[in-house]
Amino acid sequence: MKMTVLALLAAAEAIALRQAAEASPVQHVLVQMPLLVLAGVLISWDMRGRRRVWAVPLLLTALTAFLFWMLPRSVDWALTPAGETAKYLSLPLLLGVPLRLSWPWLAPVLRGFLKANVLSMLGVLGFLYTHAPLRICNSYLVSAQQDLGFAFLQLAVVLACIWAVPVLFGHPRWLPSGSAGCSKCGA
């Protein structure tokens, strides 16, 4: 119940950002779109993807939706009425929900691989959007395109830190759910 409310809040916030999204690609791609995905993740939070068989097809669905919305031309299209509807429907339902349902079933190495890929791809996007001499989206100014490139890079750094810190330093001690450490590891 709590999650449903949060999901609705996220969706409402995304819709409230309609004007801002038209004005700035950072708002559009890095705030509104993730909020829509978040809405999908939250709405399906308590669902259980029951069968493991479905994990891979669901992941592939999510990946397809992700790659589709990463295309610069899709970002332009999302500002037309048809594209906007597609965006509001597909990001939660074809990306957020399948991601949430498949994630717990994925092998740890695959999860790590996906995370590493996200970092690399954000790097590529940052690389291209900050330096490409051509306009990538017709609907946005070149300066906004560069802002978006730097935002991709900043996001990559933040995500890298969030994902690396627990692996590097272990589960933080100040978090209550931390286990007793490795006292049982001895011979």
Partner: protein, 486 residues
């Protein structure tokens, strides 16, 4: 759970899961090393005008030699580290097979790109050379080459994810596996053994290298596909050298686990992690990532502080190598009454070659020296010292150790001859390179001037000895493997 590390029986591959996969990898590595050395020999002979090679073919061989050697050094290093981490961790065999499969897929793509597609843009694929070949190759060939790199990168990423995950599971955190408890003087009743410290450090810096390398690879691929998407040449160069430098260094730092784990069997003194050892490896972790700027010392538009860091770190990364790894080797060997068979001789030689090679490297890392040495033969001179006499020798030592029978307690005549031939050949070969560098001969030139031919011809002769020694090492390894299993 740590009984394996405490109680392994010297002389037996006691806990060697996936030994078959590792042996197969070493056979492949040995074969590719030999083939790439033949490519190198052909290039030296062509420069000496003993054989006639078309310039386009020369640069294709150059590309294959560079990419092939870096890749194979990393492959053999990865197999060695996997083998020894298997003594301390439970590792998934499936991941290793996936790693090996992706690696071979990458090799096929790269060889196809070079010898079918004609790609000859060097292993460094400096932007925008792959897209501007001047008619020598099509964009498709360059793209296939980069896809080959991508496949290899994915394979390595899986390898490190699995390793990192298992280290994390076993030690709770990577910093503990890096020996931070030892450094900070905290109590640790289960300190990480040297192989794990090395594995933790390499996992961290090479994962970062691969993630950044993938970014520049994909950006270059996008540029090949849609030429309008240009990237900044200097930024691309930074990323390429970061990735390339970290990757080739990782291969040595992975292979050195063979020294840590095998030499104790000969000396009878276990190689243990202590405070200094842990500090050295943590320094390496930082240094490896900060030193790549020494490749860019002549790119004067770089911020000066980066070039200064490049020079300083080039020198100071020699300290953990010489004062810790090399010095410890002296201590372990001294008075040990160890048996000098092929494996132990090669492993001690490898530490020597690696340390000695760091000297011309640090000297070239000085900006004022670099001005007259950069991209001369001095550069292959120094890196062949620590690869041909370092990483490759570690791999050959590991191979010799894998197949040494109980009966082989001393080197037999052929082993001894091969060892001497290889050592003499390699030492002569790299010394000629250094002399050539001091004589201002530029590197990567298909056609040499008359004044330089003497260098090339002497180098070719020494190179021939290296190939000879290598063939004996690799063929005997394969034969002994066959005898055991057959």
């Amino acid at each position: 759970m740590n009984t394996i590390s405490e109680n392994y029986v010297p002389g037996h591959a006691a806990a060697a899961p996936q030994a078959g996969a590792v042996k197969l990898t070493m056979v492949l590595s040995g074969a590719v090393f030999a083939l790439m050395m033949v490519f190198g020999l052909l290039m030296r002979a062509a420069q000496g005008q003993w054989i006639d090679l078309d310039a386009a073919l020369f640069y294709q061989l150059l590309t294959a030699h560079g990419a092939g050697m870096v890749g194979t050094a990393a492959l053999s290093g990865a197999a060695i580290m996997w083998y020894f981490c298997g003594r301390h961790l439970v590792l998934s065999g499936g991941i290793f097979w996936a790693f090996l499969g992706l690696f071979l897929l990458g090799v096929v793509l790269i060889l196809g790109a070079i010898f079918i597609g004609g790609y000859g843009g060097a292993w460094t694929f400096l932007f925008p050379l792959p897209a501007l070949s001047g008619g020598a190759w099509e964009a498709g060939a360059a793209a296939a080459f980069m896809l080959g790199y991508t496949a290899i990168g994915v394979g390595f990423l899986l390898y490190y994810l699995e390793l990192g995950r298992r280290i994390h599971a076993r030690y709770g955190s990577l910093v503990r596996a890096l020996g931070w408890n030892l450094i900070l003087g905290r109590e640790d009743n289960d300190p990480p053994p040297p192989a794990i410290v090395a594995a933790a450090a390499v996992t961290i810096f090479n994962s970062i290298g691969i993630i950044l390398g993938a970014a520049v690879l994909v950006a270059s691929l996008v540029h090949l596909l849609v030429p309008g998407f240009e990237v900044d040449a200097l930024l691309a160069k930074n990323l390429i050298y970061f990735f390339g430098h970290v990757f080739i260094n990782a291969s040595i730092y992975m292979a050195v686990t063979a020294v840590y784990e095998i030499l104790p069997e000969y000396t009878g003194k276990p190689w243990k992690s202590n405070r200094l050892f842990a500090i050295a490896w943590n320094a390496v972790l930082i240094f490896v990532m900060a030193v790549y700027w020494h490749h860019l010392l002549q790119d004067v538009v770089m911020p000066p502080w980066m070039l200064v860091v490049g020079q300083l770190v080039s020198y100071f990364s020699g300290i953990p190598l010489i004062a810790v790894t090399a010095f410890s080797t002296f201590l372990y060997v001294r008075g040990s009454r160890m048996t000098w068979d092929l494996a132990s001789s090669l492993l001690v030689l490898s530490v020597a070659g690696w340390s000695v090679g760091s000297i011309p490297a640090s000297i070239d890392g000085m900006i004022s020296v670099n001005k007259v040495m950069h991209n001369t033969m001095w550069v292959p001179g120094h890196f062949h010292t620590y690869l041909l006499l370092g990483e490759v020798v570690m791999a050959f030592g590991f191979m010799a150790w894998l197949v040494r029978g109980k009966t082989i307690s001393q080197m037999d005549g052929l082993d001894r001859a091969a060892f001497v031939t290889y050592l003499a050949g390699a030492a002569g070969f790299v010394t000629v390179f250094l002399f050539s560098g001091a004589a201002s001969i530029p590197r990567r030139w298909a056609v040499h001037y008359e004044e330089w031919l003497a260098h090339d011809r002497i180098g070719t002769l020494f190179g021939g000895l290296v190939v000879l020694g290598t063939l004996v090492f690799v063929l005997r390894f394969a034969a002994r493997l066959g005898r055991r299993e057959g």
